[in-house]
Symmetry: C2
Subunit: 472 residues, 2 copies
């Protein structure tokens, strides 16, 4: 059983830290983007060094006080918010945001966990490289949180998930010991891969304090197109065709549904829409090439010519300038914002085996149609099999009208995903929102192993209590 | 304390299995390629299904009998050989070698752990795809062993280590439960990544019985060159140049030392050598392109023109035919065979941050030269920072003459590697050979976490006893 971070504990902790390391919680520390939970905390700790993080964790362990690690606070599943239980300490790494080193020839840099993703991008760009992790919240999300949640985003198809971009990590373990694992090695088979265990553990097994990240040469030319495709099956054939032409150089393959365009027209009419698809679906295809292969435009032209010839695309717009490219991406990236303005009844961050997607979408639609009057906006990272299948009120109604159906809608979608071999959390993680889903859909042997690992590494249960796995 | 797999135990086990599942050990079960250890075992179990593997593991757990998992037996660190302690059961997956499914459009296939790597290559090729894991022992090594050791090989630069090629695994955990984790998903953030924990654990945390593997489109054209470079620093500048031209399409960047060519001349004179470098070093560079980018030869020509102009290469041979390409690869892949004929005093499978390599090699050479008269053949996967720094007797002497220096040579090399931020086991793993190295060079917090995880998942210590981590 945990103890609260009460004034006596905080006063004792304060005595061990540099002045100003603790402060009272502010509203921003206790909120999360979807407004589902209201957090509580005794204080916010803002350490400046890994040694201070270790002191904080050791002191919390000795007093059995829970710690909620805080990155940029952009997580969508409540991993950063503890709404009940004994008052925890929030541990924010925002003051540990430095660049420890950058090695362009190695395509590597070592950064502290509090660095904001957009700042990491800037450091890479400064030496002619890219750090490819890219997602809507990159102006706020911090490296530690992005790794702890194994963030995805739009570049996974080409560069992998967050875990695939990490050469090494430094972390404070639940007993306050420091794991010095920042080696910048591409190959290192010396024992269990603690790095991959901590990445994606959402702060329940350790506090990531720094990471050595993989960089990549910046592409020399980029071509971006928006294409009208008949349906998701056709989109997958288009992906296959694009792979034949340019496997390894496709940096995005995003699926967009007409519903998303309608939401944009309704809520964000200033966002330009190059054309309306004949049917329901569009694909955003982007190629990015290094310097020795000619321009990306020529390769894109080859892909499109073959696609039109094979009947895989019916219309399209290729960006002819950087501003046109940005406009296409603004369209894609404004869809989540439009969704928020409309107000979803239930949002689903799912993934499926690629070949199951053409079946999944109509089956899910049919199940929902039998339950009531909904609008579905299904879009996402088709190249990774990752869809955001989000369910909205019928026109003229609001999500409040559907409150009693919300759980049923969610279960209907997740049950079907599970039945078709998919995942009910593709990129957002489990946090506190999906703890029950993990129990419901997770493999029992895996769950038992997870509990055993949690109990072995964090026997007191002080790290992010209640996140990912429920108390036994 | 474990019990031996004695006749009474084996007879009880046999009663629970299909007839013919157990057999007496044969010499091939008890040997390893470098002949350092002689194995012992009560019997070899050859299950046909994951359910049979679970029965075997449960029965061994109940009787506290150790299990040594066996793949193709090609490991170089003794992970497959238990030379002392209570007689174990060898668990070979060679009868579980089936293809469970292949999905070309998904670029995925699911195979059983006993499948030989070359057979996996054939299945992929049958649908116009590649499974890129490639190494010298591919005719014998099996998928289960390759994943359990997180094998490397020549394609890591482009496609990653074995772990990076795995979408999901099925495994039997130490309590006999079955982890059904074969989902073919590119994104799945539902709890701790048990897949990455079992991959590279060398059979100490579970028995991998099947895996869903990533496939890639087969490249449409390939260009291979052998280049004379002044030194490793120049080779790294050449890699940077090649990345500028063709990042993402470089499938091999191998460093070769003149000593390897001399060993080939001595021991395998039939292996063709296209030219002799002016100095000590050569690079094998290979590019492989999809169909929409023009031919690889033209891109290679661009790289070489720029390399000659920048003074990064002094001479070179580009394969003009498939047989010339094969000849270049035969040269590269015959070097380990020549090494074995010469007989190494001590071989070191190391990795370093790329930028440390130009310093490391002369420093190691200098340290060794002060210790005696040696020949060093340093070669390997430079693009990954992975070198095989192997130390041989002076001409006219044999490794037997150096027996009393072997440990000192190894420690000298490994100490320097460690000091320069490297790894003393880049791709071969820990096995039983490097258990002491892991304790000596491993991060203490990581070692403690490894022990805690091992104790949590395998409290009886029945899985591969003595491998990776020593008893506490």
């Amino acid at each position: 059983m945990l103890n609260p971070a009460d004034p006596a504990f905080l006063s004792a902790l304060e005595g061990q830290l540099a002045p100003g390391t603790l402060r009272a919680p502010e509203p921003r520390d206790l909120e999360e983007p979807r407004g589902r939970w209201q957090g509580r905390a005794g204080a916010v700790a803002l350490p400046r060094t890994v040694a201070e993080v270790a002191v904080i964790v050791r002191t919390c362990a000795a007093a059995r006080v829970g710690i909620v690690p805080m990155g940029g606070g952009t997580g969508l599943v409540g991993g950063q918010i503890m709404a009940d239980g004994p008052l925890p300490l929030i541990l924010s790494l925002e003051r540990m945001a430095g660049l420890r080193g950058i090695w362009p020839q190695e395509n590597a840099m070592t950064v502290e966990a509090g660095m904001v993703l957009a700042v990491a991008h800037d450091h890479a760009a400064g030496v002619g490289r890219i750090f490819p992790l890219t997602l809507a919240s990159e102006g706020s999300a911090r490296i530690g949180g992005l790794l702890s949640t194994n963030a995805g985003g739009v570049n996974v198809l080409r560069y992998g998930n967050a875990r695939d971009l990490v050469l090494g990590i430094e972390a404070v373990l639940p007993d306050g010991s420091i794991f010095n694992g920042l080696k910048r090695l591409r190959k290192d088979n010396t024992g269990y891969d603690l790095r991959h265990l901590l990445i994606g553990a959402e702060g329940t097994l350790g506090i990531i304090t720094a990471a050595s990240l993989r960089l990549f040469p910046a592409p020399a030319s980029t071509a971006t197109a928006l294409l009208d495709v008949a349906d998701p099956a056709t989109a997958l054939r288009l992906l296959d065709l694009a792979n034949t032409h340019a496997a390894g150089l496709i940096s995005a393959f995003e699926l967009i549904h007409r519903q998303g365009l309608d939401f944009l027209s309704e809520t964000l009419p200033n966002v330009a829409q190059p054309f309306r698809p004949q049917g329901d679906w569009m694909v955003l295809l982007e190629l990015a090439l290094p310097a020795g292969l000619g321009g990306a435009e020529a390769v894109m032209a080859g892909v499109l010519e073959a696609a039109f010839e094979a009947g895989l695309a019916r219309d399209g717009a290729v960006a002819a300038s950087d501003s046109q490219r940005k406009a296409i991406w603004t369209l894609r990236e404004s869809i989540p914002l439009a969704n928020r303005k409309v107000g979803a009844i239930s949002s689903h961050d799912i993934s499926l085996p690629l070949s199951a997607i053409p079946d999944f979408i109509p089956r899910a639609n049919t199940l929902l149609a039998a339950m009531g009057d909904f609008r579905v906006n299904c879009f996402g990272h088709l190249g990774d099999g990752n869809l955001h299948y989000n369910v909205f009120p019928a026109r003229g109604r609001t999500k409040a009208d559907y409150l009693n159906q919300r759980e049923t809608v969610k279960d209907t979608v997740h049950d079907l995903v599970h039945q078709m071999g998919g995942s009910v959390s593709a990129e957002h993680g489990i946090g506190r929102l999906k703890v029950g889903d993990l129990v419901r859909y997770g493999d029992p042997a895996k769950l038992a192993a997870m509990r055993a690992i949690k109990a072995a590494l964090d026997p007191l249960g002080i790290l992010n209590p209640g996140a990912v796995i429920s108390a036994a």
